[in-house]
Structures are given as structure tokens and as C-alpha cells.
């Protein structure tokens, strides 16, 4: 939360006066969104929840053989795509979900140890990591 607030301050500092007016007009919805932020539903240990264009937790450590479930709680579809999808010769190790609509989920079983970076192919700023030990 603190990080987000400081990001917002940075963003506001860059804005020109005209945009500052627009920002001021939007303060209402922002406060609402911040309040909603506090009310996150309980999360299972091997779950990654997509909320506000963010994978949470961004980094998840699991044991070999664990099935990780990715759930989309946004009003916008997202995907879960292995960053090394094209490079990975062994396709059984690579993962790529179809587009997940609101409340859709995708599960993948991590059968071998390693670090698996992934992203949303629709909003590539969204990135996460599964560490399998």
C-alpha cells in the first residue's frame, strides 16, 4: 500500500496543471478503490490471485509436484504465460493459459525444480515468478 501511494505521488508530480484538475476530479473513485484494496478474500497457499493488474503473490515458492492455481479477479481478461515458452524445448514444462475472464482459473503442475518466470501476454507489465524446490 505504501509503495502504491508513493507511486501515485510520483505520478501526480509529473502531471501538468490541466491533468491535475482531472486527477482531483478522480480522487473520489481512487479513495473507493483504496478501501476495496483492504478487503481481499482469503487466499489458498498454492494460489496466485490476479487483482488490479497484479499477480499476487508476485513470487511463490512451492515443492516439486505442486499444482498452482491462478485465478483472475479483475473485470478484464488476463493470461498466464511462461516467459520462456518459445525457448523451452520440453513443451511439457512450458505453460500458457487461455484468456481468463473474471473468476476463471488456470492450474499447472510444476513437475520439476527451477524458477519459472511468467507474464500476462495481454498486459506484459504484469509479471510473476514461481520458484519450485
Amino acid at each position: 500500500m505504501h509503495m502504491f501511494m508513493s507511486n501515485l505521488r510520483h505520478a501526480a508530480a509529473r502531471l501538468s496543471p490541466g491533468r491535475a484538475v482531472v486527477v482531483a476530479m478522480l480522487i473520489g473513485p481512487v479513495v473507493g478503490a483504496l478501501l476495496a484494496f483492504g478487503a481481499v478474500a482469503a487466499q489458498e497457499p498454492n494460489e496466485v490471485v490476479i487483482d488490479n493488474f497484479t499477480f499476487g503473490p508476485q513470487e511463490l515458492t512451492v515443492a516439486v509436484g505442486t499444482t498452482v492455481k491462478f485465478i483472475n479477479r479483475d473485470d478484464i481478461p488476463h493470461t498466464v504465460v511462461d516467459k520462456n515458452l518459445d525457448k523451452n524445448a520440453d513443451k511439457s514444462k512450458a505453460f500458457r493459459s487461455k484468456a481468463l475472464d473474471t473468476d476463471d482459473s488456470y492450474s499447472f503442475t510444476f513437475a520439476s525444480a527451477g524458477t519459472f518466470d511468467y507474464f500476462c501476454s495481454l498486459h506484459p507489465k504484469m509479471q510473476g515468478k514461481i520458484i519450485v524446490k
Binding site: L15, G18, V22, P77, K83, K98, L122, K125
Partner: protein, 316 residues
């Protein structure tokens, strides 16, 4: 927002006009563009009166997200119908419509069917480029290309000429790289270079693509990674207008002879850059929704006359 440089000053672009665009975003503004620089000259009523008989007008529509049914707008097909009713009621003759992507929300066949049915009621040709929401079928874009890709190259890019203006539709929503922004790719940039080769610098150019070509807000991915390369290829032209969607709000910027414009969505608004935790659909009171949805009309005047962009909301 445009930074006022010495060049702008000479051509008469005042900071006041640029600011007025923001203030009037909810109503509809006429922009005339003279030598690549827009002047705000009045509201929609005056715009219609000033329209000459010799010009030609096309529309930009964007982000209809057919299939979206969440809180920010439970009836995206309904608001598209309202937008199309506005199109049919327009007094000027329309040459065609440019759609800057996200026709559908989930690339489902019935969503494309519903969109086609309602857009078909306009009775004019529609030139599409895909948004990322149009490429998420099982075939990753196959459904879009089968429907709209006839005559296009690669992921769906193409160009055409109308009334002496060269129109270029680009695709920057496929093969996105982790951590990056929108992406044109080497193949499309090579095609663009070849497409522009031999064109006279006095040819007016209109480029349209889903994600803004220039970087508007990196943190939310609102820009195109290799957009600068495309803009460099366009630099020698005297009049370049770049129409984008994706951000569901109006943004205007002028840089030299280039005018950047993003259109409103017909489905739901999105927050101003950095003003919310994420760029997700913005829920606004029901009585305000239609003032944040809309479409744009662009009038090109013959010869070296001004080109005008009018943003019209569904509320008016």
C-alpha cells in the same frame, strides 16, 4: 498534453486551446488542424455549421468491448447501439469508419456477430485494426483475421488511399514481450517503410492502431515499444494524424507536424494515468457514464486546408 515549444508559438498554438480540450472532453470539441497544429474553434453545433461542402468526413470508433457486462457498464452492446444511432443521425455524409480495436471483449464468435450486426446498421464501410481483446480466441487471432483480415498482411496491417489521404492501419497488440509495451515488430516496420517509400511528403497521412504509438504512461503499458521507429519513418510528411484507442479516454498531443489523438470507448471509461491502482474499467455513477463514452469524427478539407477532429459523447 502538448508541450508548448517555440514552433507551436509561431503557428499560433496557445496553451489555452490545449487546456480547453481537456475541459471540454465531456461535451465535444471541434479541432481544426492547420499545418499540423490544432486549434480549438468551437463546440459541436458551430462545427456542423462550419463544415464545407468540399471536404470529406470519416469517423473513429473504438473499444466497443462487445461481451463486457461488468459493473462499469452491464450493457456494452446497448451503448454501442446508442453510438450507432448518433452516427446515423449525423448531418454530414460519412466516407467510412475507422475502428481502432477491441471490437469484442473476449474474441467470442457471438461477440463478433453482435458487433458486426450493430456496426452494419451504419451502412458505411468499416476499416478495423485489432485490439488485444480481439486476438484471444483459441487460434490467437485467427477468428479476427478470418473476419476482417482480407487483404491485410501479417497480423492484420494494411494501407489504403481515399481522397488523396494515405491511411495506414497498424497492429501493435500481438507478440507482446514480458515487461514491455505494445509491439509492432520488425516485419511490420519493414512493411511500413516500403509502404511509405515514394510517397510525396505533401501526402496527408492518417495512421491508426489500437495502443497509442507514443508512450503515454509506461507503468500501465500505454504506449508502443517500437513506436518511435514508426514515427521516425513518418517524420518527413507534412501532415500526420495518429488515431489510437485502448485507453478509453481522450488525449491529444501535437509534436511538430504530428497530431496524436485517442478516442473514447463506447463501452466503459478507464482512469486517468496514475489516478487509480490499475487501468481497469472505471465505475462511475450511471448518470455520468454516457458523458465518458463516445466517438470522434474527422473532417479532411480539400487542399492544404485544416483537418478537424470532433469528439462526441453519448450524452449530448
Amino acid at each position: 498534453m502538448a508541450k508548448k515549444g517555440p514552433d507551436d508559438q509561431e503557428k499560433g498554438l496557445g496553451r489555452r486551446e490545449v487546456l480547453e480540450c481537456m475541459v471540454w472532453a465531456g461535451t465535444g470539441v471541434l479541432w481544426t488542424i492547420s499545418g499540423g497544429v490544432p486549434h480549438s474553434v468551437g463546440l459541436i453545433g458551430e462545427a456542423a455549421a462550419a463544415e464545407p461542402a468540399t471536404g470529406f468526413t470519416f469517423l473513429q470508433m473504438s473499444d466497443s468491448h462487445i461481451g463486457f457486462d461488468k459493473k462499469a457498464n452491464p450493457d456494452a452492446l446497448g451503448t454501442l447501439r446508442e453510438a450507432v444511432a448518433k452516427v446515423k443521425a449525423m448531418p454530414m455524409k460519412l466516407s467510412f469508419i475507422i475502428h481502432t480495436g477491441d471490437i469484442t471483449h473476449l474474441s467470442k464468435p457471438e461477440e463478433f456477430d453482435n458487433a458486426d450486426k450493430v456496426y452494419g446498421e451504419t451502412g458505411v464501410k468499416i476499416h478495423y485494426v485489432p485490439g488485444e481483446h480481439d486476438m484471444i480466441d483459441e487460434g490467437q487471432g485467427k477468428a479476427y483475421l478470418e473476419r476482417y483480415g482480407n487483404g491485410s498482411k501479417g497480423a492484420g496491417w494494411y494501407s489504403f488511399d481515399d481522397h488523396g489521404v494515405h491511411f495506414i492501419g497498424l497492429v501493435n497488440v500481438v507478440d507482446l514481450k514480458a515487461g514491455g509495451l505494445g509491439n509492432l515488430g520488425a516485419e511490420q516496420l519493414a512493411w511500413l517503410e516500403a509502404d511509405l517509400k515514394g510517397k510525396s511528403a505533401s501526402t496527408p497521412i492518417v495512421v491508426f492502431a489500437h495502443i497509442p504509438l507514443q508512450i503515454l504512461y509506461k507503468e500501465w503499458g500505454w504506449g508502443t515499444e517500437d513506436g518511435t521507429q514508426a514515427l521516425t519513418l513518418l517524420k518527413r510528411f507534412g501532415s500526420v494524424t495518429i488515431l489510437n484507442g485502448h485507453i478509453h479516454q481522450l488525449a491529444q498531443k501535437v509534436e511538430g507536424n504530428m497530431t496524436f489523438h485517442t478516442a473514447l470507448s463506447t463501452a466503459f471509461p478507464q482512469p486517468a494515468p496514475g489516478s487509480a491502482p490499475s487501468p481497469g474499467p472505471m465505475v462511475v455513477p450511471a448518470d455520468q457514464l454516457r458523458s465518458m463514452l463516445g466517438l470522434s469524427s474527422v473532417t479532411v478539407l480539400q487542399g492544404n486546408k485544416p483537418l478537424a477532429i470532433v469528439d462526441k459523447t453519448l450524452a449530448g
